[in-house]
């Protein structure tokens, strides 16, 4: 818990950590992803993964960055309005594959990095797996459910 408070202090966030269903969440406010990642790495947090949610319409995406801090699971969500967000690959090489996977599955561009050949799919068509591209119907309902959950 001391480590959590220390991270909060380093980031200068007044809003407290919220423990919910297995994860300690911290809202980064206006802080940039890379600033948060630097503090997490300085605090010896271990990068776990990024979970991506697509929000329908112009709302874009929500990316949850998960870190482990001595057995404590930490989640820091970032919303993106468009289809791009900074890469943290140069800060944490453990983020390499998941950034490439999200790039392929959701067609999100992680800026500041080069992509090696596609990880999971052949060809050059991005976002064909998890990104909802269809208009009304079952897939749109799925995206609406994700939006509801991500609130």
């Amino acid at each position: 818990m001391i480590a959590l408070e220390s991270i909060q202090l380093k980031l200068g966030i007044a809003e407290p950590w919220v423990e919910s269903r297995g994860t300690h969440w911290l809202s980064p406010g206006s802080l940039g992803l890379r600033d948060v990642a630097k503090v997490m790495i300085e605090s010896h947090a271990r990068f776990i993964t990024i979970t991506c949610y697509q929000l329908p319409g112009v709302d874009g995406f929500r990316l949850e960055y998960h870190w482990d801090l001595d057995g404590c699971l930490v989640g820091i969500p970032f919303g993106i309005a468009g289809s791009s967000i900074d890469s943290i690959f140069d800060l944490s090489e453990a983020a390499d594959w998941i950034e490439r996977e999200i790039h392929e599955e959701y067609s999100i561009d992680f800026t500041g990095r080069a992509y090696e050949p596609l990880l999971l799919r052949e060809g050059d068509k991005l976002g064909v797996n998890l990104r909802e591209t269809a208009t009304p119907g079952a897939s749109a309902a799925g995206a609406a459910a994700q939006k509801e959950v991500a609130k």
Partner: protein, 360 residues
């Protein structure tokens, strides 16, 4: 002059399909590129089309070796969304299944490692032992691969006479201690093939964020059973084996010691198993809107599930799975650098890779 040697996606040195492009100078590997996804199944997308019963059966098929671990992690996440707490006996049964699966996985890996060392007799010995573990799993669950043990709020099958399984565990441990572990740890053949090769330094293990035995063999003392106990692990006494060398031999040592610790945990769980129900018994529950996350220490390392649900919906809105091989695999690139070409099949196998998990 450097040249590129592709290994895979279908190669006698690999058990499953992935590709390792190695850039070599003579017999020495200078660098490597990894390619996965040859059997990518889109399971996360498929999960959004399954209800809460079907999704358990689906996620059990993410991995062919640690199928139980995937349903355990998923069910723990779904239990947080439904506010269901499994009864104590169910938690003990979950520990028994998880440790049997660890035994099964580690012995299977030992057999494959022996085969890659050219040690065919040990390969057969390990697979004979693995059969005994699978017999125990079959006795409990009725199945040999996909056990269908976990459900939301507990487990599907009881272990009616836990004490009857203890002699089987004793026999397994005796065989491991008498034959498998001494040969792997003391024979000159194993030492010459494993010591000092495929080194992953402590610093690189941290920067790559590797997990499980791969991390513990590089001096990273992390184990979720100890750091963030789930099921009934908080009530178990066990050691977390850690080695410092970071080579193939250290990874072998860690798994060998974990086999003994698993037997120790199994004996405790079977002896202390409380009487009572094996599930909450209710089939009327609702999922709250939101996201729940659960992590479990699988045989290969940490598995994480992030499950999102919208209240009133039959299906999950999102299921994200982070498997241990997905975290460990990129580190192979650093392990094979500077290695002899002939050692690379054993080096890549030393992380106990699971491409079924990776190509989920």
């Amino acid at each position: 002059m450097s040249y590129k040697i592709p290994m895979g996606p279908y190669h006698p040195g690999l058990e499953e399909p992935y590709k390792l492009d190695m850039i070599c100078e003579g017999e020495t590997v200078q660098d490597a590129e990894l390619h996965i996804g040859f059997n990518f199944r889109g399971i996360e997308h498929l999960a959004e089309t399954r209800n809460y019963i079907q999704v358990i059966a689906l996620m059990e098929r993410v991995c062919g070796i640690c199928s139980n671990i995937h349903t355990l992690t998923l069910c723990q996440a779904m239990e947080q969304l439904t506010s269901l707490e499994p009864p104590p006996r169910a938690k003990y049964i979950r520990v028994v299944m998880a440790e049997l699966e660890r035994l099964h996985s580690h012995v299977l890996w030992a057999g494959i490692a022996a085969k890659l060392m050219g040690f065919k007799t040990m390969f057969m010995t390990c697979f004979a032992l693995r059969e005994k573990v699978m017999d125990v799993l079959q006795t409990i669950s009725g199945n040999r691969v996909n056990y269908a043990m976990n459900c939301v709020g507990g487990v599907n099958r009881d272990i009616e006479d836990p004490a009857a399984l203890i002699p089987l565990i004793d026999e397994l441990e005796r065989e491991m201690v008498r034959t498998v572990i001494p040969i792997f740890t003391t024979s000159s053949t194993a030492r010459s093939r494993c010591a000092g090769i495929g080194v992953l330094t402590h610093e690189k293990a941290i920067s790559c964020a590797v997990v499980g035995p791969t991390a513990r063999a590089s001096g990273v003392a992390q184990d979720l059973r100890r750091a963030a106990p789930y099921a009934a692990y908080a009530e178990m006494e066990f050691e977390v084996p850690v080695e410092q060398a970071g080579d193939v031999r250290a990874r072998l040592f860690v798994r060998a010691l974990e086999i003994i610790e698993s037997c120790r945990i199994l004996r405790q769980a079977l002896t202390k198993m409380p009487v009572g129900e094996i599930s909450t018994g209710t089939d009327k529950f609702t999922f709250a809107t939101g996201t729940a996350t659960s992590r479990v220490e699988a045989p290969r390392g940490e598995v994480m599930y992030s499950v999102s649900w919208k209240e009133g919906s039959r299906n999950p809105a999102r299921v994200h799975v982070r498997t241990p091989t997905y975290a460990n695999m990129p580190a192979v690139r650093w392990m094979v650098r500077g290695a002899r070409l002939a050692d690379t099949p054993l080096i890549q196998a030393s992380i106990d890779p699971c491409y079924s998990c990776t190509d989920r």
